[in-house]
Amino acid sequence: MANVIFKNITKTFDDVTAVEDFSLEVKDKEFLVLLGPSGCGKTTTMRIVAGLEQANSGKVLIDNNDVTGLAPKERDIAMVFQSYALYPHMTVFQNIEYPLKIKNIPKEKRRDQVNKTVQKVQLEGLLKRLPKQLSGGQQQRVALARAIIRNPKVFLMDEPLSNLDAKLRVEMRAKLKNLQNELGITTIYVTHDQVEAMTLADRVVIMNNAKISQVSSPKEIYNNPKNLFVAGFVGSPPMNFMQGEIKNNKFFNNYISEDNIQISDRNSVILGVRPEDINVAQEGNIKGEVYSFELTGDSTYVTVKLGDDLIIAKTESDYKTSIGSPIALSLNKNKIYFFDTKSENRIIE
């Protein structure tokens, strides 16, 4: 239906730069997730697409039309807010009907369309209630219905699931993905929850300090992080980092030494390795002591103390140990990453 193009968008609030030189193309029918810590500029970026904020410089194109200076209503977009923003004085029916009513669509047609939309999100029988008489999940679905009733060019979703409880969130996540696929509407989705981002997205945009850190598929983001920030932000528990030195194809610090590193000599590098790529064994080249261990059901996370560093390793759920006992670790050689200490970019040679 429509693509969205950002061309060098910059937005500042007084002295604070919220978005800096943001350029990106969201493809037609794509589910794009903006992921980042709070204050990274992801919500501002979305609000610029909606027309609720005006960028200081740069352009936004929807369906190849420049919409930079246009009012929100002229952009043919729909948005779901974190708070749902249901109109409290209107019934569910009136809420969902509102976008059509403004367009002066005849009453009969409005009713038909509301009924059709309501079926898609399973809200039948609740049409006469006021928003405050609904549960959180129901309110969320009303907001969704109000967004999809118009068949907009672009969907914008600002952390729509963050007010739901954990179980409902998983349920709605699947529902959202399914609905987006069915409707085939280009979607931009903002979240700080990496699980949501990884599960929903066709592509993830990771933002940090007003800038894009990396744009890739979820798999690529996880397996090939471009820099220290992305590597540390995605994954739970997060990637382990250890500072050290590389000399003669060997990485080493006080506790670890790894041979056969295909990187030229450097005085200061950061080694990164994910918990699942660390093997826990009786014998291994890294020796430490157990700091704590947590059973999560299908696996156990062991926190190991190496000097001043704490390293988390993932192992089987039936692994037994006790706090303070000695432990040995070995790293999966194919799955370790090196980052430059200064630029924090990944070193690939």
């Binding site: 909606a50 027309g51 609720l52 009012a71 929100p72 209503k73 977009i77 729909a78 948005m79 807010f81 708070s83 749902y84 923003a85 249901l86 109109y87 409290p88 004085h89 509102y98 976008p99 403004i102 367009k103 006021l130 928003p131 405050k132 549960s135 959180g136 999940g137 309110q139 969320q140 109000r146 118009r150 914008l156 007010n163 739901l164």
Partner: protein, 279 residues
């Protein structure tokens, strides 16, 4: 338990005291309006055990003072100025609650608007008189409408600003994304939610304008523009004070405000917009 057993009577007694304190003068005014002159001055005062008379009401409506005309003047001046002040103040309050202003301008603007209410009205009454006489507006209803509107705007602005701040701004943002204009979302979404605020504010404005006396005395001269407060004050003359007349006319003048308060009473109960946003 201790808390509950003691709290209830204390709260109850406080309310009774507050009611007596505020309602006694009102009750006394009404009772005086039904007493003959001798009983008005009776010592000890007679609160209920007197022979009611309608003389003063008769006098109010059918002597030389065109009391009805004054009532109508007050009606026009109060309602028009309240409507003007509500329109201008509501828009100003919305602007202060929602829009971005450069630097600290918003704070200064809001404070400046409020500061116009900080001086005693008598300070401005002479300049206002000169100003109105320059434009030939002395002794017109328009003069009082302008003066009361100006006096009510800061109040409306601040009241409505705080009501608008209570309404989440996502609501009108959502409305605008849904295809509405800024004004449309203001009219269809924000104003209905601010109804309790509008009701409360309009009552205050009405009372303030209806009861105003100083400007009314100085800016008006004849029955073309004289207000009901002026009419009540006519009971005091060089040689006597006609308490019966003043009590009767004051009692009548209170009635419209009470009626209006009853009409908007149900809107005064806030809470419609609360709790609807959270999941």
């Amino acid at each position: 338990m201790w808390k509950n057993n003691f709290k209830k009577p204390i709260v109850f007694l406080s309310i009774v005291f507050a009611l007596i304190y505020t309602l006694f003068p009102f009750l006394y005014m009404v009772s005086v309006s039904f007493k003959v002159k001798k009983e008005i001055f009776a010592m000890p005062p007679k609160y209920f055990n007197f022979d009611p008379t309608l003389t003063h009401y008769w006098f109010t409506f059918f002597n030389q003072i065109p009391f009805f005309k004054f009532m109508i003047n007050s009606f026009i001046i109060t309602s028009v100025s309240t409507i003007f002040a509500l329109i201008l103040g509501t828009l100003a309050g919305y602007s202060l609650a929602r829009f971005r202003y450069p630097g600290t301008l918003k704070y200064h603007l809001a404070f400046w608007i409020l500061s116009t209410r900080m001086m005693p009205p008598i300070v401005v009454v002479i300049p206002l008189f000169l100003f109105f006489s320059y434009f030939n507006l002395v002794n017109t209803k328009l003069a009082l409408i302008i003066a009361y509107t100006a006096f009510n705007i800061p109040f409306v602005t601040w009241m409505m600003r705080s009501f608008f701040l209570d309404i989440p701004k996502e609501l009108e943002e959502s409305a605008m994304v849904d295809g509405d204009t800024r004004m449309g979302s203001f009219r269809r979404i924000i104003l209905p939610l601010a109804k309790p605020g509008l009701a409360a504010t309009s009552i205050f404005c009405l009372i303030l304008s209806w009861n105003e006396f100083l400007f009314a005395v100085i800016l008006t001269e004849t029955e073309i523009s004289n207000t009901v407060t002026f009419a009540i004050a006519l009971g005091v003359s060089q040689y006597q004070a006609n308490w019966g007349y003043m009590a009767a006319s004051a009692t009548i003048s209170v009635i419209p405000i009470i009626i209006f308060a009853f009409i908007v009473q149900k809107h005064l109960v806030r809470g419609l917009s609360f709790g609807a946003m959270k999941g």
